[in-house]
Symmetry: C2
Subunit: 448 residues, 2 copies
Amino acid sequence: MHALETDLYQLTMAAGYFHRGLAHTQATCELSVRRLPHARRYLVACGIDQAIDYLMDLRFEESDIAFMREVPALAPAMTDAFVDYLREFRFRGDVWAVPEGTVVFASEPLVRVRAPIIEAQIIETHLLSLVNHATMVASKAARIVHAAGGRPVLEFGTRRTHPRAALSAARAAYLVGAAGTSNVEAGRRFGIPVVGTAAHMWTMTHDSEEEAFGNYLAVFPDATTLLIDTYDTLRGAERAARIAGDKLKGVRLDSGDLVALSREVRRILDEAGCTKAQIMASGDLDEYKIAELVAQRAPIDSFGVGTELVSPSDACSVGGVYKVVEFERDGRRVYVAKRSEGKVTYPGAHQVHRLMERGRMTRDTITLASEEMSETERSDLPLLEPHVASGRRVIAADLRRARDYTIEALKALPRELHALEPTDEPIYEVRISDALRALAERVWSAAD
Amino acid sequence: MHALETDLYQLTMAAGYFHRGLAHTQATCELSVRRLPHARRYLVACGIDQAIDYLMDLRFEESDIAFMREVPALAPAMTDAFVDYLREFRFRGDVWAVPEGTVVFASEPLVRVRAPIIEAQIIETHLLSLVNHATMVASKAARIVHAAGGRPVLEFGTRRTHPRAALSAARAAYLVGAAGTSNVEAGRRFGIPVVGTAAHMWTMTHDSEEEAFGNYLAVFPDATTLLIDTYDTLRGAERAARIAGDKLKGVRLDSGDLVALSREVRRILDEAGCTKAQIMASGDLDEYKIAELVAQRAPIDSFGVGTELVSPSDACSVGGVYKVVEFERDGRRVYVAKRSEGKVTYPGAHQVHRLMERGRMTRDTITLASEEMSETERSDLPLLEPHVASGRRVIAADLRRARDYTIEALKALPRELHALEPTDEPIYEVRISDALRALAERVWSAAD
């Protein structure tokens, strides 16, 4: 179903390995981010579970093979033997990965794949797409949720990104603590609470705001959040209070000076006896604006965030890469690494150990996966765990549990990582273990 | 299939219109962009044909209806009568739109929908998602293609966006003149030429670069573009020339000083007799870097562009909105418009007339759709044309034809619009017709 949603070169290289007798070479590849985006102090790994779903489902259907024969660059390699290989193709490798929602930093592997080289190669593009996109959204959403300081954040961004990307974005936002989404399909697919109010169009296609509010209440008597800024927000608040009375669940402000308006609206609602009615704010919000509203003590109970959550203008992509770190052929193990400007990779299969002190993340150490930790480091938390063994999933995906884990993990962030301003200062210490550094120096020198 | 890929409030409002006897209200809504992104001088409308596909396919399946009953906010409205309405739901309205690939500016309608209000309302979110995303990519890709000055641009961005968004991005890039994509599924689905070279992993999992090149050539003797920057680019070029000889189709540079390297590599290839071998450049390219390479006369034959094409950091979203402009109820026509800070809308159904002089776009005029053009303006090109009439598609989508149209349209851009630098100066004149302005003044005053 997704086999052709990849770069052509993955398929030509697969054919190349096959025809040159390299199909049984075992390769280990890792997905990591070389540099954090300038405007991010940490990333939240996301999309891992969806990537595993993809690996479990990956098949070449007859229609896929038929199209591959038609691609001029591939056609010469589509022999009967290779076609038979594709028909039998399954991902049969091992995958270690950090749990969905883990806080990660530059150079730390999010996913480690060990598989016959064709399998390890073919999956690269789709794996990167899923993880890069979801990690990009989760990392922004975590900042927004934190800025809201416990007030619910609702994901409203569907219209500002591709419809399918929107589903993944709603999931990523929920993972890091958003309370709900406006996207109904995301609710169905992922079990996320689905929320919404009304649009200006509802009000504008009635003869008056009173009539619009009355009609909405008549249909949804128990769950009405009224949008009150279509004409005059304060008059809208008065009308909402008058018409809904104590049934008024809430009002939404979508424009204007949200500090001043929320205070005035709160006063109007309270004086009318609608003390339980909540105020939701929306309209081009991001973590900076939300932090300011919270700092100003604006009486806003929840935030609806769209554009900036799903397409963050300060970091709209995450540059995760997928690099081979070692391979085995004819019984030999070969370590692979590169050191060029801005493109350092470390050889070998890795683990990340996280030191926790008094409930706070304190320091990470990237080690060789095979490395024995010293006595003092043994208490550090190893981040990568087995997800797939010989092509079989060994951890069931569970979004609710992943969300609980993520929210706890974000509570353990050092305070400096929660600061919103971009910085180029190293804030969080990520060490390279002595054994890994020694191996890297050896491999780098040999490659130079 | 896509019915629930929308915001919840579209469905609650639909239920509201239904239960309050407004189902037969006819509404006209328009999709337009209020302000261009700061870094864009024009937009290329894209995603229109996919949006029409969505309208033609839109159905509420039983499984959709079953889930809608489970959403607490919707449940009270899911009466038998409304469920029957949903089962019979089809989009039966009219759609006018600019052709796929049309250059558009702020306030100009890209799509105009006239339909019973429930239909006009329900489609809002998905329509915006498709058009906003594709227009975002097409508008960036047009700049990149123009900067390349006739050299082929290849879309390589799949790994930097969601897998499904990547398909739409490949299509948008092709529409504006990209020569191909690395995404195989995009090739199958849209008939785009599929292209690719090899990755560093291919080279790094061989014992030597020579062996890697030799193995690739053995499998793909006639179509080999070799990636030569894995170790030392110039030695890579020498090896490629030596091993492939005059069969060498091309080489790819993915890092380093592309001006200096491309000159050296060209010299090495020419001296080795590989005069027909082409040089492809990739690696974090965008229109600025490409323009600089072209200005420096770097001997690069084609450009592979990824991240910045699919997730442009200078404008990663387009803020298209969908607003009701008029509705008819009980035989009355009501014009709708708003004038608040930064949020001006014009009442009534609109047309855009484009004045062409000596093959160049010269000025646009936004008019009422019903307006008679004066003698002097009659030669202006009306941009919106009927796409759907009473729920039936009246223009078949044809990506090749749309691409030809788009490439021609981009040639007609005034030179100032091709400049890459952001500007807040108004560069291209978009007039409001006298009749429209008079109507707008009347409606704005009444709303104040």
